[in-house]
Structures are given as structure tokens and as C-alpha cells.
Amino acid sequence: MQFFLQQCLIGLTNGALIALVALGYTMVYGIIGLINFAHGDLIMLGACLALSLVAALGLGLGDPGGMAAAGPVGTWLGIALLVGLCGLFCGGLNVAVDRIVYKPLRTAPKLAPLVSAIGVSFIFMNVGLFWLGPADRSFPELLPAANLLPGDGLQFTWKDLLVVLIVGPLMLALSLLVRGTRLGKAMRAVAQDPTAATLVGIDVDRVIAATFFIGGFLGGAASVIYGLYINTIGFQMGFQNGLYAFTAAVLGGIGSIPGAVVGGIVIGLVRALSSAYVGERWTGAIVFAILIVILVFRPEGLLGRRTKEKV
């Protein structure tokens, strides 16, 4: 039982991380109907920047078992700075790619932006290859491995807390933004019908740019968490992680923001449980088999809306 609970806890933390990435896919899809294949690799570049910043700020120095030389306050401030800078970097890069690559293709056949996104993903991968080198790099441990829960039962370490501390506020901020602000309203309007949104005076291009920025920002934050939590990064990490996150987005109902969160957590749980009970090497097959089964019975995803086809 305790083993099961522990796996669930791992699944939840992993799922939160997947959800953060899935949001980037689902928001872009919801607004321009593009499967942004480059999103995973964008996060890989964010992780590259995070690694370089850790070295530049000297955060990784000190006792690997305890808090780093920067001290607890310094470390947490450093992590916050990392999240902010990598978020800005990934958000900015995402907007730039949209402006240069996807924007001219808004009226092109539907597959054109998809192939362009695959192209961008290759370019990002090549940049990552130059940045990190061909081998995987280890990301320094910044947080102590001590258990925060009493007793020797369940393990909940500083790292897990870090995931909760970053993902929670970001999700809250996102839902406030989408529900409560003018920008959020405009985003929902553009997602529903871009032409009608233009008619009521919404600057569609700006809204799309904002969406790419927010998706990228969340991805940048995810890249920092990924580095600190998984501790290994490599130029090919974007593909596999992107695939899981994208699966999560589809599972939850692509285009739906709460759907991405639910989907991420479900995928995280499935991954953790199948790794624990069936074996790590079958995880990929199980995740995708479940995805296929769910889509067969609920083609619109868990929280997606069923759209009626019109003539």
C-alpha cells in the first residue's frame, strides 16, 4: 500500500511537470490549430540556458548533499531567477518563431505549418547539439535530498516541493489570466472564431503572439524544473518529453486548459505506476495504448468539447 502511495506521489509530481509542458501545446492548438512540434525542443533550449545560468551564477557550487554554497535564501532566489529568465527566453523565442515562421502560413494548407514546426524542431535540436554537445549533461543538484514528511514512510523531498511551488502558482496565474483579464477574454474569443474576433476589434495577431509567449513561458519554467528534478539533460530530450506532454494535451481534450492539467496528471500517474508494476521499458507502449483506447471511446478527450461537423 505504501509503495503504491509512493508511486502515486511520484506520478503526481511528474504529472504536474508534464501538465506545464502540455499547456504550451494545448494553448497554441486551441488558438491556431497547430500541433507545435517544436515545443519540446524549445524546452530543451530552456534547459540549456538554465544549465549555463546555473554555472554563471555559481549556484551549483557547494556540498552536493546539502544546500548549495549560496545558502537557502540564495538558492531559492536563484531558482526563482532561473524560472523567470528561462521563461522569458522561451516565451520570447516562441513569439519570434511564430512571427517569422508560422505567421506567414496562416492561410496556407493545414499541413504547411505542421511541417514548418517539425523543421523548427530540427533547427532547435541542432542549436542544442552545439550548446550541450552530443552527450547527455548532468544538471547540478541544488536542493538537499532530505525527506520533508515525518517517519521513514512516504518520501516527499525538497525537489518534489519545488515542483509544487512552481507549478501551483503558475497554474493559478494562468487560470486567473484566462478567466479574468481582457487578454484572456480575447484569447477565448480568438480560439472560438478568429474572424468574428477581428470583427469586434480584437487584434488577432497580438493575441496569438501573447498565447505563444505564455505557452513558451510555462515551457521555460518547466525546463528549469526538469533540470532540477530529473538532473540529466541532453539535446534529444525535447522529443520524448514533448511526446508525453502532447499526449497529455490530447488526452485531456486538446485546446482545453483544464484538460491539459488533468491529462498531464493522468499521464504522470500511468507512467509512474506502469514503471513500478510492469517495468520501465514498457511504459511508452502502455501510455500510448491507453491513449488509443481512450480516444476510441471518447474521441474528444477527457474534457474536450464535442464539435459537430458543419457543411
Binding site: I118, L129, L243, L295
Partner: protein, 350 residues
């Protein structure tokens, strides 16, 4: 003469390719094997073109069917298994199995909307890859299955031992793959204008309107799925045969599917010459141009320190990606668009 080349590019290409091994001795060596692989990818891409080009269903897992064809071929012929069918029989069974699996995947999933279907095919590709990798007792795990015997093993025509000839001289396989490719091209061209081919296009253009005209969209889509899988399976058979091994399961992963998809879109959706050109460019870039440019750089000693920034293959992905982005930007209909698609695009944006 020019007119003739433009009209009958296919015959010209076939004659040139058929004569090439007689003129170029290099095709008897490693280059011959590479060109054979190129032909096989052309067949694979033509199979994918049925789904993506004609029927408009995005398929992100074609490599899975490529792999199923290759592994079925191996299972039916390697000494490890009791079947040891002849080459042709094994190929036919493998193609049928691939088509059957395509049907089994398509039947429950075809009612999904476009992007969801794409994800199902992607997921299926991953499931197949992981299964091939992990079922070591059946698939040999990362080692793959081998040796796949050459076609015509044990068959003697006069003094010529056919199996031995295939094993020794890559030109035999070159001709076999070329013949298969020519056959697939002819079949595709016939299909394109058949009742079924026109139904595929009708479903791509407007599924509702097509069903209003009495076309059963589900059946038409299913047949596209089966046809696509069968042709991909055929490509897989030839692949396993030409390498005489299935190679490791990573040869059938997502990146392979994506490469073939990019080739089809780059060349022009629904266009046979476009598809062939797309494969020639992408695969040719990877297996011919990149190594050549690297050896050239080495020869001129521009890169004494061996930095990856100064080697051509270090930039491979970026060049590849940039090419995709630029083609989509300036020729979204592909390099050699199908006439129908090109006409539509120009109508939509005068």
C-alpha cells in the same frame, strides 16, 4: 525531345536507372546498396502518400508498418523459425499481415477527427517500436532478426545460383527494388484515376459532401489505410531482404515516419513524381551529400581541430529544418504539386 522528357519523365528515369549499373561500376559496391535503400524509401513514401496525399489523413506512424513488413518477412524466412517460406510467399504474407494490422488499427479509429487520428497513428508507432524492442524472444530485441536469406536462395537457373548472386552482387537487389518501385508507381497511377482513387480525393476534399454523393467515407478511408499499410509492408520486406537483417527496432521509429512524411509533403501531396523527388532529396541529402561534404571539408583541412561547428554533418539537422521551413513558406503545395491541388490553391488565393 524536351517535350518527350517532360511528358514521359517516368520512362526516361526508368531507362536511366536501369542502365546505370551497367555504366557505373560503383553501383556494384556500397553505393548500390544506398540507392537500393533509396528505392525502398520511395515505395514507403508512395504508400504514405495514399493516406496523406490522396485521402488527406495525417499519418505519423508509417514506420510501424514498415517495421511490421520487415519483421514478418524475417519471421517467415530466418532459420530460427520453423516457417522458412520462399521469398515471394513470405513477401505476400507479410504484405497481407501489414494490411490486416492497418485495418485493425483503422477500423475503430477512423471516426476520429484529423489531428486525433494523427495522434493515434503516432501512438501506434511508439507501441510497435517498444514492442519490437522488448519482445526479445520473438523479435530478437535490439539485435533484430537475421539472417534473412536472399531471394531465390537455392534456386538454380542453369549455372547461375540465384540466391548466391543476390548475396554477392548488390546490383541484383538494385534491380529487384527498382522493379518493385516501378510496379508500385504504375499501380498508384492506375489507382489514382480509378473509382476508389477518386473516392479518396472526394473524401479528402469534403467528407460530408462525398457521403452525400453516396460514397461510404468509412469504407473509403479504411481501404486507404489498408493500401497504405500494405505498400509500407512491401517496403519493409524489401528492406529486411536487402540488409539481410531487420536491423534494430530504432530503424522503425518516429523519426523515420517523420522523415517520410516530410518527403511526401516537400515533394507535393498526392503527386507521384513529387513524392519520389522528395525522398530523393531528403534521403540523398542524408546518405550521399552529407558524407561527401564532410570528406571534402576534411580533404581541404579547414577543420583541423575536429570541431562539430565546422563539419557539415554537425549542421545536418539545421539545414534539414531550414529547408522544410523555407519550402513551406514559399511553396506550401510542394516542389512538384499534383495538378489538382495546385489548381485549388490558385483558385483560393488569386
Amino acid at each position: 525531345m524536351r517535350e518527350f522528357v517532360r511528358e514521359r519523365w517516368d520512362l526516361v528515369a526508368l531507362v536511366v536507372l536501369a542502365a546505370a549499373p551497367l555504366v557505373l561500376p560503383a553501383l556494384g559496391g556500397a553505393l548500390g546498396g544506398q540507392v537500393t535503400t533509396l528505392f525502398i524509401y520511395c515505395i514507403l513514401a508512395l504508400g504514405l502518400n495514399v493516406m496523406v496525399g490522396y485521402t488527406g489523413l495525417v499519418h505519423l506512424g508509417i514506420a510501424a508498418f514498415f517495421g511490421i513488413g520487415a519483421y514478418m518477412m524475417a519471421i517467415l524466412t530466418v532459420p530460427m523459425y520453423p516457417f522458412q517460406l520462399g521469398w515471394l510467399a513470405a513477401a505476400i504474407v507479410s504484405v497481407l499481415v501489414a494490411a490486416g494490422i492497418g485495418l485493425a488499427l483503422g477500423a475503430p479509429t477512423l471516426r476520429l477527427r484529423g489531428d486525433y487520428l494523427a495522434i493515434v497513428t503516432l501512438g501506434f508507432g511508439e507501441v510497435v517500436k517498444v514492442t519490437l524492442r522488448n519482445l526479445e524472444q520473438i523479435t530478437g530485441g535490439m539485435k533484430g532478426l537475421n539472417p534473412v536469406p536472399p531471394p531465390g536462395a537455392g534456386v538454380k537457373i542453369g549455372p547461375l545460383d540465384l540466391g548466391l548472386a543476390f548475396a554477392v552482387d548488390p546490383r541484383w537487389f538494385y534491380y529487384l527494388a527498382l522493379a518493385a518501385l516501378a510496379g508500385v508507381v504504375v499501380a498508384m497511377r492506375r489507382l489514382e484515376h480509378s473509382r476508389l482513387g477518386r473516392a479518396w480525393v472526394a473524401v479528402r476534399e469534403d467528407e460530408l459532401a462525398a457521403s452525400a454523393m453516396g460514397i461510404s467515407a468509412t469504407r473509403v478511408k479504411l481501404s486507404a489505410f489498408a493500401m497504405s499499410s500494405a505498400v509500407a509492408g512491401l517496403a519493409g520486406c524489401l528492406y529486411a531482404g536487402s540488409l539481410s537483417t531487420t536491423a534494430d527496432p530504432n530503424a522503425y521509429d518516429f523519426s523515420r515516419s517523420i522523415m517520410v512524411l516530410c518527403a511526401v509533403i516537400l515533394g507535393g501531396l498526392g503527386s507521384i513524381p513529387g513524392t519520389l523527388l522528395g525522398v530523393a532529396i531528403l534521403v540523398g541529402f542524408d546518405t550521399v551529400l552529407a558524407p561527401w561534404a564532410d570528406s571534402w571539408i576534411q580533404q581541404w583541412n579547414v577543420n583541423p581541430s575536429g570541431s562539430s561547428l565546422l563539419s557539415f554533418s554537425g549542421w545536418r539537422l539545421a539545414i534539414f529544418g531550414l529547408a522544410l521551413v523555407l519550402v513551406m513558406r514559399y511553396r506550401p503545395e510542394g516542389l512538384v504539386p499534383s495538378r489538382r491541388l495546385a489548381a485549388e490553391l490558385h483558385e483560393a488565393h488569386p
